[in-house]
């Protein structure tokens, strides 16, 4: 988690390192390095455009980490990030750079690129004055390039375009520069053209960071005002806040106050990420670093909160961030019911590190005790599930992802429903509104027809189509979020052979003809399988799920009807035939161990089953229905 797990050793006596000339490494403190020698920036890019690789090169080039210690994609240090080649959690690193006769301190804040993590991007942006916009010279401007640029502009950041991957044969540097000027309106004259992979043009990037990005503002002597832009739990030091100091100075021993809760803590240590945690004597206005204050309770270091001095508090706390609103919901249950508390602990720890994750306890007849979790999107959901399974060694059962509906009952009462089970009966419902998104798809023109057909299929309403150039089209649709989270990504990818990119943002609610689709196993409703779907989709979906369940549920001692129903009306039926025979182990030569083993295996398998009425349903069955597309 975060930078602490990076195992890179700098010179052990950090305070005496003189490689960096006269920079006082203990922080700025009294003989402070002036603000104009600091640059706080982040790197924004579409996924895969080479953001993390560029970060690695900057770290390497500035000698922050020697080549020997250099480890590919240094800042992506979660296993999942490395494997998927994406950044999920933001990371920071302090770099030292000599420009002319002067020494500069750079604080680099790495950001996630995926649309799901917009919230995290906006957090890191708030700690910066500038942003490097990395654009792949072979791909050009993509959906997330744009959305991240808009976020950066909203935060008044100075943006420095960096054209990456110029070494590739298919690179079209001029074309991409023109695109950036045309679509985004940024000046690309003289912007760095690099190959982060090959280490080409990195010096130019470093120089332009000094020349083009503005230094931070702030008063080191004013009352402390520090923005928590991330926090995480360290088993030894408690909750650690990653901060950008806006005003004032903070040292070990200071008493600090959390503006939102009023709670006071004593600072145990302040430091920077270089990129491993290094204590410094103080952090002052304009700097980025961490504060450890023996905070036991993770909720006391809420991301977006302002830290101030307990004895001399600021009068104007920072605005903080708009709380991230979950868009996608799913039920997460421990496969082993006894692990409920472990799951809860794990979610609490992840939440500290991932402010966008929300969860509350829920109870399913089929799955027992678990949590209804809210996510920013499907990737976010997958990442959290994977982290729960890997980092916390949990076996999970998850229900089909859904969205949050606004329901108006016939008696005028209004409800928000994010769990299909809680949808009132059809007779009590006056209307249901579902969340909509504005989806922007970038695609080569030859796929336009395919994508329009897909969007139409997904109940999309055409908004706009723009030819960016002869090679690319921007398509805008208004779509129900419910359809996007279902199998939209997969369909889009397969229909465009991966060439299209997608971005979406919330776009209000819309009345819709929605119904709850229930699944009955041997006549018993299985709450964990219920879904809210558009009425026109219900039949196909019901049939598809019933078929999947038939495959996933093993034959048992009796015949098992599987039915899909809407409000008590059966719309599809499949049957799992009764088991006719078991494998018969013979007890040859008095060897009954074979038979015992077989039975143990059978019992072991039984334990992993969930009971729906009298039927044993394997955990995989709950997962298999997630894979029912409209196409099957």
């Amino acid at each position: 988690m975060c930078a602490i797990s990076i195992d890179i050793i700098l010179d052990s006596d950090y305070n005496n390192v003189n490689t960096f000339g006269k920079i006082p490494l203990r922080g700025r403190g009294e003989d402070a390095l002036s603000l104009d020698k600091i640059r706080n920036f982040c790197i924004i890019a579409h996924i895969d455009h080479g953001k993390s690789t560029l970060a690695d090169r900057l770290i390497e080039k500035t000698g922050t980490v020697s080549a020997r210690e250099m480890q590919e994609q240094l800042l992506d240090n979660m296993d999942i990030e490395k494997e998927r080649g994406i950044t999920i959690k933001l990371q920071t690193c302090r770099l030292f750079y000599r420009h002319g006769d002067d020494e500069y301190v750079f604080n680099l804040i790495d950001t996630p690129g995926h649309v799901d993590f917009t919230y995290e991007v906006s957090r890191s942006l708030a700690a910066c004055e500038g942003a490097l916009l990395v654009v792949d010279a072979t791909q050009g401007v993509e959906a997330q390039t744009l959305s991240n640029v808009y976020l950066a502009l909203d935060n008044d950041l100075e943006i420095l375009p960096v054209i990456n991957k110029i070494d590739l044969a298919s690179a079209d540097v001029e074309g991409v520069c023109k695109e950036i000027e045309d679509i985004i309106g940024l000046d690309t004259s003289g912007c760095p053209k690099v190959s982060a992979k090959e280490g080409i043009g990195i010096d130019d990037v470093l120089a332009q960071i000094v020349e083009k990005l503005p230094p931070p503002k702030g008063d080191p002597d004013a009352p402390l005002k520090a923005l928590i832009f991330d926090s995480y739990y360290d088993n030894y030091r408690g909750a650690i806040s990653m901060v950008r100091i806006m005003d004032g100075t903070v040292r070990a021993g200071d008493r600090i106050k959390m503006c939102s809760t009023g709670k006071v803590f004593e600072v145990v240590e302040v430091g920077v990420y270089a990129p491993s945690m290094k204590p410094v004597s103080s952090l002052s206005a304009g700097e980025v670093g961490y504060i450890a204050a023996s905070v036991k309770n993770v909720s006391d270091t809420a991301v977006g909160d302002t830290i101030t001095g307990a004895d001399r508090p600021t009068e104007s706390p920072l605005k903080g961030y708009k709380k991230a609103t979950p868009m996608v919901y799913t039920g997460i249950y421990p496969a082993d019911g006894a692990k409920y508390n472990d799951l809860k602990e794990a979610l609490l720890k992840l939440q500290l590190n991932d402010a966008a994750l929300s969860f509350e306890p829920e109870n399913s007849k089929a799955l027992g005790f678990g949590f209804r979790c809210g996510f920013l999107g499907l990737l976010h959901m997958e990442i959290i599930e994977e982290r729960l399974e890997r980092e916390f060694d949990l076996d999970l059962i998850t229900t089909a992802p859904g969205v949050s509906y606004h329901v108006t009952k016939t008696n005028g009462e209004k409800l928000i429903v994010d769990n299909p089970t809680n949808l009132p009966s059809p007779t009590e419902i006056d209307s249901i509104e579902e969340p909509m998104v504005k989806a922007v798809v970038y695609t080569p023109p030859e796929y336009v027809g395919q994508i329009m057909e897909l969007c139409q299929d997904k109940r999309g309403i055409f908004v706009d189509m723009t030819y960016i150039d002869t090679a690319r089209v921007q398509l805008t649709y208004r779509l129900p979020l419910n359809e996007i989270i279902y199998d939209f990504f997969d369909s889009l990818k397969s229909r465009t052979r991966g060439y299209a990119s997608l971005d979406y943002e919330a776009d209000g609610y819309e009345k819709s003809d929605l119904v709850r689709l229930d699944l009955l196993i041997n006549g018993d409703m299985c709450d964990a399988l219920s879904l809210i779907v558009h009425k026109d989709r219900a039949y196909a979906r019901g049939r598809g799920i019933a078929e999947k369940l038939k495959e996933a549920i093993p034959r048992q001692l009796f015949e098992i009807p599987i039915q899909a129903a809407i409000g008590g009306k059966i719309i599809a039926r499949e049957t799992v035939k009764a088991l006719r025979k078991d494998v018969l182990a013979k007890c040859y030569g008095g060897d009954i161990s074979r038979k015992k083993k077989l039975l143990e295996k059978q019992k072991e398998g039984k334990k992993r089953m969930r009971r729906v009425g009298s039927v044993e349903v394997p955990s995989e069955a709950f997962v298999s229905i997630l894979k029912v597309g409209d196409d099957n």
Partner: protein, 374 residues
């Protein structure tokens, strides 16, 4: 107490077999093995000198690969080693291709009174697929021959081979039933790593579906009943009075001592205590390990073991249920108290005298029933 003797030699390993059997063992290897076996017999005789020996079963592998003299040597050793050696039933397993009239007569002279022949199928295509070395005609001829020498002849069938059909099963079982007193019908199980499993996985061998096999097994039960062979255990069928005493001991948790490579034993401190507090041990599976380990042992208790476990309490009860429910006799209704759930109640029926057994449908899904009640 019962004695099981394992003869691990085969001319060739069958395509479905994963038992402890070895093809191509040299004459010296065979001699060393018999020597080790005789030593183990002696040590077992010392250990169990107070036990009355009720049955002996010489199984394999292919015991009929031994000469008449080698076989007699083993039975003589048993008689000499166990002071209370008075078996009512001594069975030897034979394969058709290694059986002849002289050998059968020498078995009879050695005190053997029951022959069990590995027929497996009477369809030559199935016999080839299974990797057997005989054909249908030879099997029938040898069964006839065995019937001339022995009153009590049994044979094994495997159901679920590639060319099995209900009609063929009826025809084959009728032919065999005319010649024997006892038939065992096993279902083909695909054991990991066997040639048949691999070939089925590659699609080279096409086996009947699960439901198809279920139908074949039920057909077999009816066919045998029609010929007077009643089902007294899930896989075993006999004319009245010809039920296998030895196998019955396994299902009722009698004491038995298994001698030879990979053999399994079950015994107690005393003959009476095994049921409540028994020990299950098994011998090494490797021939070399068995021979060397036995040579170095000074007592039965110091023989090399592949596994050893004590069975008592709930586990002993589970075993009693798991084994007893295989039989027509069933188990004492008392020990099933509180275990039978509504989901499986319909698979039980009375076996008289307060005993319960599985119904015919119940026998077919025995594992599922057991998984529910154990």
């Amino acid at each position: 107490m019962e004695i099981y003797i394992h003869i691990p030699f085969c001319k060739r390993k069958c395509a479905y077999c994963d038992f402890a059997s070895y093809a191509g063992v040299s004459p010296e290897g065979r001699r060393d093995y018999i020597a080790a076996l005789k030593k183990e017999i002696r040590l077992a005789g010392e250990k169990f000198r107070d036990r009355r020996i009720d049955t002996v079963y010489i199984g394999g592998g292919t015991p009929s690969l031994l000469s008449g003299d080698e076989t007699a040597d083993i039975t003589d050793s048993l008689a000499a080693a166990f002071p209370l050696f008075s078996p009512e039933e001594i069975t030897i397993e034979v394969n058709p291709e290694s059986t002849d009239g002289d050998k059968l007569k020498s078995y009879r002279a050695a005190g053997i009174n029951r022959v069990s022949m590995g027929v497996q199928s009477l369809d030559d295509r199935n016999l080839v697929a299974a990797g057997r070395l005989h054909n249908a005609e030879e099997a029938l001829e040898k069964l006839r021959l065995a019937g001339e020498v022995f009153d009590n002849v049994s044979c094994d069938f495997i159901i679920g081979l590639p060319f099995d059909t209900p009609e063929a099963v009826v025809r084959e079982l009728n032919a065999a039933a005319a010649l024997v007193k006892h038939i065992s019908v096993y279902e083909l199980t695909l054991e990991e790593g066997t040639p048949l499993t691999l070939s089925a996985a590659r699609g080279e061998t096409v086996l009947p579906s699960d439901d198809g096999v279920a139908e074949l097994l039920e057909t077999a039960v009816d066919a045998l009943a029609a010929k007077g062979l009643g089902r007294y255990e899930v896989s075993n069928f006999a004319r009245t009075g010809y039920e296998s005493r030895h196998n019955f001991g396994y299902w009722t948790r009698e004491e038995y001592v298994g001698l030879g490579v990979a053999a399994h034993s079950f015994f107690g401190e005393s003959a009476d205590s095994a049921k409540a507090r028994g020990i299950r041990v098994s011998n090494p599976r490797s021939l070399a390990e068995y021979v060397a380990g036995t040579a170095g042992a000074e007592s039965f208790d110091s023989l090399p073991r592949a596994s050893q476990e004590r069975v008592e309490g709930r586990e002993a009860e589970d075993e009693e249920i798991m084994l007893g429910l295989r039989t027509l006799r069933g188990v004492d209704g008392q020990i099933l108290r509180g275990r039978i759930t509504p989901a499986v109640a319909r698979f039980f029926e009375s076996a008289g005298e307060g005993r319960l057994r599985l119904t015919r449908d119940g026998l077919a899904v025995m594992n599922s029933v057991l998984a529910e009640i154990l």
